[in-house]
Amino acid sequence: MSASPPPRENFAPTRWSLVWSAGHASTPTARAALSELCAAYWYPLYAYVRRQGHDPHAAADLTQSFFARLLERNDFAAAEREKGRFRAYLLAALRHFLSDERDRANAVKRGGAANVFSLDFEAAEGAWREEPVTHETPERAFERRFAEELLARALGRVERGYAERGERRTFAVLARTLTAPGDASHDDLARELETTAGAVKVAAHRLRERWRAALREEVADLVATPEDVDDELAALFAALSD
């Protein structure tokens, strides 16, 4: 991974490949792509910083400062070799940033870092408090939160598709068949949706296909080449496994 691979013709430029092909987010499009990605995946970073032992205030502050530096300069040399994958890059860059911060030990003076995004840290802290008290490492906290965030985004993508076709209810009812196909019989679901068991079976199958496609699209957005999608999925799966 010494140079960023150019986006290939049969592979629509994803956000992440866009960032890197443009070279360190120097163009407005690339910068927009990067900031969009950061805005989507900031909670895992917050979780990482909190798990490092920082208090809510410092964690919010550090997360904002990190984004500021990422978007302004994006000069995390140590993270360069991870640029094939957004997730790995983000974590490497954050680590680099935190160690820099520690070295400078200017946590007190930093104070008013410019807020790049309006991030709802209060909600984040609320979510953090909701989390079980575990002994997971900061890395693990990050990976897991990242995977959850990604899944939520992918499922949101599917849900929007259904909503646009006016099938919000179908989605709501069938969503649980995604992970537990055997738990509710097709007949029960058919009654609930006022249709036939055969139709439910087809609909459930279609939902799984859409889910699969959406998940792969979401992951593809975060890697440099299409070959990396499977690897990234496997890594995310490992992050969610105990």
Binding site: N106, E131, E139, E148, R208, L233, F237
Partner: protein, 641 residues
């Protein structure tokens, strides 16, 4: 808070955080399957005993005992032999390829060849009613995962377990069998502490030709991610026995620290108090490149056994310093005033007492008063230094010194000088030529001198500081504050070393006082002079020593935690600062004993001799305890990061 376990894959998740309350792991697994695998799979539920029993008429099925990625396990009894066995049914989705039956037969035969006390024996295998099964030795115990959850595992036990696992792995490697899925769930420990490994080679059997990421349903079958060696991820079909050694390293790390070695992990001794030599063993087993790892399980065993032979200290979990950095203790204003005043008064009183003792008292009484003076002096110095140190750590003090050059506490020396002045006035009004008057004279004069001098020094310092001249050796309190926030652990370590000396001194002052007063009573008894021969002052001195000694002894004992074996006084390896104080005290005791022994022999004055003997006995008891509890293996200080 509101987590639950997925009923399908067993993963823990937080429904409020996951999309539509679905298990994220299952959700991802569904999305990862190929387009041809999207049909709903059969539910993975353990079949009921009633459904299975007819298939195995020769067995009396007792109860289901486990369920995992591999399949379902039942406890059973062979009707013919009355022997307890474990029946494992392989999950059906594994057996969906035509070649499976053949591969299963082949693997089962290989496994049946393994005969080792550390490996669960296979009695029978085959296929019945669509279920592939293995009939195995029943182990009455628990797996390592459950053990780790239920009880803290001591390092001794951990070493024994790892050693046994090594022996079993070495045997199977010699037979050409690689386990491929060594993890705590697959290590069973029976009630006698014997280790038995289960599920040899099943990972490969069940993965078939699909590779490492062959994910069927909601679980992964080619090894368990965190226990997989790097090469196992890359070329799952080409791994050799060294992948088992890596997994063993992960299990070992987990046993010692209770955590997984993820990312850039710390050496075990940095997480918990364990023998540092274990770091080398664990880290070598966890080498990323198989060539740099241990090449044989038996090598791990040899190293572990040699460490086990010399180590018997229980595992002590220490808090993670990085996240719970203790803030250095500081004093409030009242405490600071009390300690400083006590310190100054004690020191001045000690000097005064030392000077007047030989003028007014007989030899024995003078010695006793000089003892009191010594003790007072040490107690005063300790109190003064403690007060000064803790004041300097206060943010308001640091801030005031940095911005204005002076803090209001800098006015305190003036108060001291004033109180000395009052003392002098009182002495002038008192009865002349009386020891108490002279004492008051000297002590008050000391207070005046010390107070005035330090007040002048502070004024000059403040005046210079306000003009930007640095009067502090470190580059100002602001800089030292920054250093502190950057390295709270180092800061705390230093202060704890200081506190070992401080409270060590307090303890020995207590011992000295008590032995001195007891020495007086016993010595006078021995000499037969326990009377008013020396006047009442000797009795006063003795009582005073008791009054000072008991609190000092209690405070020192308590602060050092001497009753506990985990106290740094006992558990620190090498020579601690307390050891130095103890050694000095013992040397003093020996020296005084020889001197006073000669005096006692010649003059019949036994008091100092008994005093020295008691000091020596006390220090000998401390030294003996230190030697008895000496950490056999090198233990790093508990706060090392």
């Amino acid at each position: 808070m509101s987590t639950r376990n997925c009923q399908r894959c067993g993963a823990t998740f937080t429904p409020t955080r996951s999309p539509h309350g679905l298990c994220p792991r299952c959700l991802l697994a569904v999305g990862m399957r190929g387009p041809d695998e999207l049909e709903p799979e059969r539910p993975r539920r353990a079949p009921d005993l009633e459904a299975i029993a007819p298939l195995f008429p020769e067995l009396e099925l007792v109860a289901p005992i486990g369920e995992g990625g591999m399949g379902f396990v039942y406890r059973a009894r062979q009707r013919e032999l009355g022997r307890e066995v474990a029946l494992k049914l392989l999950a059906r989705e594994h057996a969906d390829t035509p070649s499976f039956a053949e591969r299963f037969r082949r693997e089962a035969r290989t496994l049946a060849r393994l005969s080792h006390p550390g490996i669960v024996a296979i009695f029978d295998s085959g296929e019945r009613g669509g279920w592939f099964y293995l009939l195995m030795e029943y182990v009455d115990g628990a797996n390592l995962r459950d053990l780790m959850k239920s009880t803290p595992i001591e390092s001794k036990q951990a070493l024994s377990i790892v050693s046994q696992v090594c022996a079993a792995l070495q045997y199977s490697h010699d037979q050409g069998v690689v386990h491929r899925d060594v993890k705590p769930e697959n290590v069973l420990v029976d009630r006698e502490g014997r280790v038995k490994i289960v599920d040899f080679g099943l990972a490969r059997l069940l993965a078939g030709d699909r590779g490492a990421f062959a994910l069927t349903g909601s679980h992964q079958v080619m090894g368990t991610p965190h226990y997989m060696a790097p090469e196992q991820w890359e070329k799952p079909q080409a791994v050799d026995h060294r992948a088992d050694i890596y997994a063993l390293g992960v299990v070992f790390y987990e046993l010692l620290t209770g955590e997984m070695p993820l990312g850039r992990f710390d050496a075990p001794s940095k997480r918990v108090e364990v023998d540092v030599r274990l770091d080398d063993v664990v880290l070598k087993a966890l080498e990323k490149q198989p060539e740099r790892r241990y090449q044989r399980a038996s090598e791990v065993q040899v190293d572990v056994d040699s460490i086990a032979a010399g180590a018997g200290t229980p595992l002590v979990r220490v808090p993670d310093v990085a996240t719970t950095a203790p803030t250095p203790p500081t004093f409030g204003t009242a405490a600071w005033l009390a300690f400083s005043a006590l310190g100054l008064v004690f020191v001045c009183a000690a000097i005064a007492l030392w000077l007047i003792a030989p003028l007014h008292f007989g030899t024995s009484a003078a010695n006793a008063w000089r003892n009191v003076a010594l003790g007072l002096g040490v107690a005063g110095l300790v109190a003064g230094f403690v007060a000064r140190g803790r004041l300097k750590r206060r943010p308001d003090y640091a801030e005031a010194r940095r911005t204005r050059g002076v803090h209001w506490t800098d006015a305190a020396p003036a108060l001291v000088a004033a109180s000395g002045g009052i003392g002098l006035a009182c002495a002038g009004l008192s009865k002349p030529n009386h020891p108490a008057t002279e004492f008051l004279w000297l002590a008050s004069a000391g207070l005046v001198v010390v107070g005035t001098l330090s007040w002048l020094v502070r004024l000059v310092q403040g005046w210079l500081g306000a003009r930007g001249v640095r009067t502090h050796a470190p580059a100002g309190p602001a800089a030292s504050n920054e250093r502190r926030s950057a390295a709270p652990a180092a800061e705390f370590r230093a202060s704890s070393r200081g506190s070992l000396v401080t409270f060590g001194l307090v303890l020995f002052v207590g011992i000295y006082f008590l032995s001195s007063s007891l020495g007086f009573v016993l010595g006078e008894l021995v000499s037969g002079t326990l009377s008013t021969a020396n006047g009442p002052s000797l009795v006063y001195a003795t009582v005073l020593q008791m009054v000072f000694g008991v609190p000092c002894l209690i405070a020192g004992w308590h602060a050092l935690g001497l009753s506990s074996r985990e106290s740094p006084v006992w558990s620190r390896a090498g020579v601690s600062s307390f050891d130095v104080v103890l050694a000095l005290f013992a040397i003093l005791a020996i020296a005084s004993l020889t001197t006073w022994g000669a005096v006692a022999w010649n003059t019949g004055t036994w008091t100092p001799f008994v005093h020295g003997t008691l000091n020596l006995l006390a220090s000998a008891a401390l030294v003996a305890r230190r030697i008895a509890w000496w950490p056999r293996a090198y233990l790093p200080p508990p706060t090392s990061v």
